[in-house]
Symmetry: C2
Subunit: 177 residues, 2 copies
Amino acid sequence: MEVFEAIKTRRSIRAFTNEEVSEEEVQKLIDAARQAPSAGNIQPWEFIIMKNPQRKHKLAVAALNQTFIEEAPVVIVVCANEVRSGRGYGARGAALYCLQDTAAATQNMLLAACALELGTCWVGAFNEEEVRKVVNVPRGIRPVVIVPVGHPAEKTRSAPKRSITDIVHYETFQEET
Amino acid sequence: MEVFEAIKTRRSIRAFTNEEVSEEEVQKLIDAARQAPSAGNIQPWEFIIMKNPQRKHKLAVAALNQTFIEEAPVVIVVCANEVRSGRGYGARGAALYCLQDTAAATQNMLLAACALELGTCWVGAFNEEEVRKVVNVPRGIRPVVIVPVGHPAEKTRSAPKRSITDIVHYETFQEET
């Protein structure tokens, strides 16, 4: 699939068929994720691949009862390795670069999934402490995104977007006084 | 260009020819950026398009004297609109979703640029207060990435990446005790 097409046709999918996602597909998603740029090439990302139904259920509960999460055959929990980023770039690394790098990796993953005709959803609304327990991560590793992955069982429309003229500013954000 | 190819061949480019970047190309980059997912479809992104040489020079100085920035014909400053995200999702919105959403938008932009054979670099190292002054943004709008855009004047190798086995964990991050 062509880049611009993937960027434009990617949708948030919250309903999945029972069809499995192959290990090969999962590997392609992770391989796409790790190609993202990262500050100082530190690559502060960790990916937890979850298929166990009981654990997916606990994860869905920790994600404010978004039950569609557990209906996906595979769920990927993206974690930011604050230790790696902090070692390289101190507080700015741990609080900013770490979140940006993992978000860029996640976006690569969603676009790759779209090209593979898999459905995904970027889930950010969850109780971090509860998710920590479910995936057993130590301090310094922060769960930042939950990505359910499956074959889409719904067609969704594109979300309405702010116009280009609304989001673009020339030279400065506000005119200088 | 095919999605996986763009994901794999995108490089950080820090040397540019004198060739201009057209307004049409800039619009394609912004259009790609705004297709990114965002928490609650809040779209907390603002893009400042900068071409003025004096201003680009000031920006490069504010970015810790990374002079290659001002050599790009176009520089895009990506800002996170903390007000929009905070209104929707409080502290988590302003401190997390806002950074993730703008990072996903930036990654779309870099991939789109790669497909257009334009070179870009994700610059995160800069003095935020100094950049604020250069682009005249009020509190609540945070500059988070600087993206110089131009025609590449260098070929760079792919950055070495952590292996898939190093970054993938199954079911939990650590084994449960």
